[in-house]
Symmetry: C2
Subunit: 722 residues, 2 copies
């Protein structure tokens, strides 16, 4: 108890320090911080490079782009750029095919055409001895993206001399999935509550929603699913559609299309039908009518996201129909309007002793080619459920005739909620760069997603949002980096997490090289740290049953047991998913499967995912499995401590509020990393009967103590501290 | 439908305009806007008057005060005040008895002593030909209040020459009541969700909670009840107490004490007892133990607020005990620690044909003198339930031997939620300045509250908070004015709403006289406007049954009927509460009762509250009751339109974000005011069978249409727009 009280006092003191900067940053601005450039020479350079501008804006999107540009330049350079109609030296020329034939005439028609709806070019040109920068797109949406990119060049202190940027998104649908309930709560949300003010919609338009759209547009996100995949049928009622239309109106100028989730049983629940059977003509008609109605209110409605026959949700199987039959019936209703259906592939049987890892593939693989062309099968990155680390989902590469949407989770359901600094770009990158060996080596998940020539030009990446009403949007400051990284990788899934993190640090904190290096280092070790102190060596699903935060490898009830996932005994640990076990390896391309199957090639990081091994098993490092496991858990905690010391070294260069809140967060993370490490090792030690080597610090508390800690939000079961 | 679509388009356009100011204000800063003074001469004047400072800060509160002062001056004057140890010309001397014997020696001991814990003095003095400003208090808390006052003088452009301020609060407990549930939702909250981040407490301390405490301290609020009066027993569990302690730690430096609600049946629900009978020794012991535990975690815990035997809540009457017996049992447990119990007087029988207006008085009047000395009986301002207008509660002045706490509602449950601009200071003032005629004329509710010589030095005002996670704290900008006004009137209940509004406008918007006049005018007509378009002439409780927003005078179900409240028939309207009726008039002092009883003296504003009158009744104005009623409803709408045109005239002087959001709000308010007016008049017209005079615009829609509009949040019942 004394320890806790001391922590209280220290925190109270920190609070004091926090108020000592009036212009302390809450984080609300996100990465769109247009603060005056302090370096006088650099500011002067950019001022010269922006001496004047030609930018005729007429449409709503053009006006939005222009406003963003003017605001950005005013903030960064402290002046209002001068408008002109003639091309002058150091002039900025901004336009697209519709707004300025003059500007677009500076590029060849073929190049312009290759930009599509969303691409753009930023290029230094010389016109009659005048140096100019051309910011050009084919369409309005591309122009808005171009403006954000142009501002980013200045924000991140890039040279504008000889600048040559051409960007076209590699993925068509880049969509946030909000698991927001109609009552404002968010399933697995840790940053407050829903941004959608349903009570006051559609009449009240909040600036917060506009800023949400700005932020998304700045990283290329172009769609948003407003509500929870565990859907409420009433979200499709007229009254709610009108409210959703209010949000769509706020988002439209930024190119964000609204999608809704739909409950498969809606025809019964709100349509007064006696069935929701997808083969019933009345049901088909109901969906057609409903879709028609939606497009009346939201002319650019994106489509539906549906979770069916999964975790208790209704679906076509309730009527003996397949997923494809269910999906196609609704997709048909959407097709005349250009609407898209995302159909989730996340299904598993809630039965003991059935390996959940293999069920999604087994259920959907036979349906390849049966989905209509406007259906995405939306597949989570791995075959279980957003664990700290999973091998890629075997459906990638095995559904050549189906458009797949990759679903990442940005909200940290299983990665410490908003209490742990975990940068997810390395996780995203790991999945995207996984080689599925479709047509030989180098056929990554990323390539599979991009290869939509065979899927009617359809490609998609979805991210379960971590955004809420918290002042800093994401519950903790670095959560913003995960939102940012998702957007950037959805735009270009071949970007590296290193590059994306640098961009974010420059925009969010500083362009000082030492600061960038330090913060990047923290970020780039953070995900591996979390894997190490939570679930190393391929372990998974040993988190707290209710909250999914904190360790609970001992959970064991008739519905669900952690023992299915680690299968620990006195002899061994891990799940045999090889040919001799549940045959998960066989679901991959034969080369990939063999790679996982073979103990010599299977990477340590997936070892206990695919293999069941004795405690004395000799690892590649030469150590026993037990010792290796111990090493990983201890290493994870040490990595958090490294993050702490890096952050402490930045005290003088980060404003008080952001510094203190992150310092506070890392303290919490260290405490919880120790909790994870101790609880898991003490639990497994009961089986292995092997010691924690003496070089390591002793566990802080006993296993019994750790078993009694409820996750701090879930106070119903036991009492802490007493 | 076209009308709505047009409104959508206009709104969409407005959104565009909204982004055109990068430094647009979200409202997050509240009235604590320390922006640089633009008037150069004035800024220079204040810079000179703050040439140097003597301020030795050692305690946590002193440090907080000093930080606030330095931040404020840095923002307002653009410089950091220079510290010194000698008294110089134009020096600021800040201290209290503990921090600076030197500074306090400048005042006579008796005067200092009269300041108590929370009072302060700001005074120009001359010391050896040096002009100085002394900011002095007896205790730390007074010093913090003094600093906020000093900054306010500069913010509101007051002269510091010859300044002489002495302030001592007139009420001891100035408490916000949050109706926040443990799941983060807020009962009758319209500004988002709870500020308390229960998941991450106690380890995570949010800057938002610190800013909440700053804001409260700046207006003199010194207590906060964290949770809903419809209490959840588990809030008293150890785990939740530890979390509450985390909040208390954040609030303590600002002098905000934490209170909790307590569910009367907690001994059974979380204590494993088989009864909660207040006379049971086990129950008494349980509460003693629980209170002891709370003070372990929160040494300055304020006490409990309890709603018992009211609207289904458990209470002492479940065991045949009186309210006093129930309250005293818990108060006894609190007494050793200086804790206070607020026991709510809001009770009524949920029975038809029992006049709810008379029940609270009848139940509590006989208990006068039976409550322990650390119990407040907390009484709403009027005898029903936070209606737009009610006469003062008859318990005021009739409980001479009981400490009364006056409960106002700041959140606009019955005043348009966060969708109507309604400034509540005039409502607060109306109640506070109501004359109860205790010991002759001039014995106002305010005086009753202040007259705590007979109640062991206890005095209290409580306000049901309108604060939530919205960026602007209160759902709409002017909601901040109601929070501000509550604090100011709790500190000094004899302030005028005119004075309080001016202070708020100066701090929030501008010191320009024309701007102040315009905004004050809007604010000061707004409450009467709301009464006029909602429930004029003493009408009450005809709002929507579920949401309490929008009109529903036709509501009539077995549990509850609006007909009990208006009793409309073809002949008459209003409720007879005179001697011939439910005798509510008899609950007041005989002079007050006679004043309400007599039609010649009863003010029009309470007419239908106390009297049942025929439609043809001739009003003081010479018009019939029907025509007068019509006039009021139309006047209400016109007043909203006046507010709109005043606001429009301010377009050039208010920043884009705040201007547009308020413009948007007023549009909504106009639409809903028409809804109220039309729906009520068309409904009453069915009975009166009298016409709406032709000089007035026709109702926009039919009664049938209005009856089908659900409140926009409550979409379950009927469908709008179709």
């Amino acid at each position: 108890m004394e320890y806790k009280l001391k922590a209280f006092c220290i925190s109270a003191l920190l609070i004091l320090l926090q108020v000592n900067e009036i212009f302390a940053e809450s984080g609300y601005e996100l990465w769109l911080r247009y603060h005056l450039i302090e370096d006088v020479a650099l500011k002067r350079y950019y001022q010269i490079k922006n001496s004047s501008i030609v930018f005729t804006a007429r449409t709503q999107k053009q006006l939005v782009a222009k406003t963003e540009l003017y605001n950005g330049l005013k903030g960064l350079l402290g002046f209002t750029i001068q408008e002109t109609h003639d091309v002058k030296d150091n002039c900025l020329l901004v336009g697209n095919v519709e707004s300025s034939p003059l500007i677009t005439s500076l590029l060849c028609a073929k190049e312009l055409d290759s930009l599509g709806d969303e691409g753009y070019i930023i290029r230094s040109l010389q016109i009659e001895q005048k140096k100019v920068t051309v910011v050009v797109a084919k369409k309005d949406q591309g122009l808005l993206y171009a403006i954000f990119h142009y501002l980013k060049l200045i924000q991140t202190h890039q040279s504008l001399d000889g600048v040559s940027v051409k960007e076209v998104p590699k993925i068509k649908y880049r969509v946030l999935n909000h698991w927001d309930n109609l009552d404002g709560t968010i399933e697995r949300g840790y940053a407050g509550y829903s941004l959608w003010d349903w009570e006051r919609l559609p009449f009240y338009r909040s600036q917060r929603c506009v800023d949400y759209a700005r932020a998304n547009a700045s990283i290329g996100i172009n769609g948003t699913v407003l509500n929870n995949v565990n859907a409420n049928a009433k979200s499709l009622r007229t009254e709610w559609l009108i409210k959703a239309a209010g949000l769509a109106d706020s988002f439209r100028p930024y190119g964000i299309r609204v999608f809704l989730t739909a409950r498969f049983s809606a025809p019964q629940e709100i349509g007064n039908l006696d069935t929701s059977d997808p083969m019933d003509p009345k049901v088909k008609q109901w969906w057609r009518n409903k879709v028609t109605e939606i497009y009346e209110y939201i002319p650019d409605f994106g489509g539906f996201l549906i979770k069916a026959n999964s975790e208790g949700q209704p679906g076509p199987q309730d009527y003996g129909r397949t997923h494809a039959e269910g999906a196609n019936m609704i997709a048909e209703a959407l097709q005349p309007y250009g609407g898209i259906l995302f159909w989730r592939a996340f299904v598993y049987k809630n039965e003991r002793h059935v390996d959940r890892v293999v069920t999604g593939y087994n259920e959907f693989k036979p349906l390849d080619g049966q989905f209509k062309e406007n259906v995405f099968l939306q597949t989570k990155n791995g075959p279980i459920d957003f664990q700290p680390r999973e091998p890629f989902h075997p459906l990638f590469g095995k559904m050549p005739n189906t458009a797949l949407s990759l679903e990442f989770q940005i909200t940290q359901e299983n990665l410490g909620h908003a209490g742990h600094l975990v940068y997810l770009a390395p996780l995203f990158e790991e999945t995207l760069q996984s080689d599925v060996y479709g047509d030989g080596k180098g056929n990554t998940v990323s390539k599979i997603l991009q290869n939509y020539h065979e899927t009617c030009g359809m490609s998609a990446i979805a991210g379960v949002s971590n955004v809420g009403t918290d002042l800093n949007w994401t519950g903790y400051l670095f959560g913003q980096a995960n939102w940012h990284a998702f957007g950037r990788l959805a735009w270009n899934p071949d970007l590296t997490s290193e590059k994306v993190s640098e961009e974010w640090v420059r925009m969010t904190f500083s362009n000082r090289e030492d600061v960038i290096d330090s913060i990047k280092r923290m970020m780039l070790i953070s995900r591996e740290a979390a894997v190490n102190y939570m679930m190393p060596l391929g372990l998974n699903h040993i988190m707290n049953f209710h909250t999914h935060n904190g360790p609970e490898p001992w959970h064991d009830d008739p519905l669900w047991t952690a023992y299915d996932y680690h299968q620990v005994t006195k002899d061994s640990i891990g799940v045999d998913r090889t040919d001799k076990g549940s045959r998960a390896t066989g679901q991959y391309h034969k080369l990939v499967g063999a790679y996982f199957e073979n103990l010599k090639t299977c990477p340590d990081r997936y070892l206990l995912w695919f293999h069941r091994l004795p405690w004395e098993y000799k690892m590649k490092s030469g150590q026993t499995l037990w010792n290796e496991l111990v090493n990983h858990y201890y290493k994870g905690v040490e990595e958090v401590r490294t993050m702490q010391s890096i952050w402490t070294s930045l005290k003088d260069v980060i404003d008080g509020e952001r510094f203190t809140s992150t310092e506070n967060l890392l303290q919490n993370q260290e405490r919880e990393a120790v909790w994870w490490r101790d609880a898991c090792l003490l639990f497994f030690k009961e089986y292995s009967q092997m010691p924690i080597p003496e070089v390591y610090e002793s566990p802080r508390y006993s296993l019994d103590y750790y078993k009694k800690i409820p996750f701090p939000y879930d106070w119903n079961k036991t009492q802490m501290f007493k």
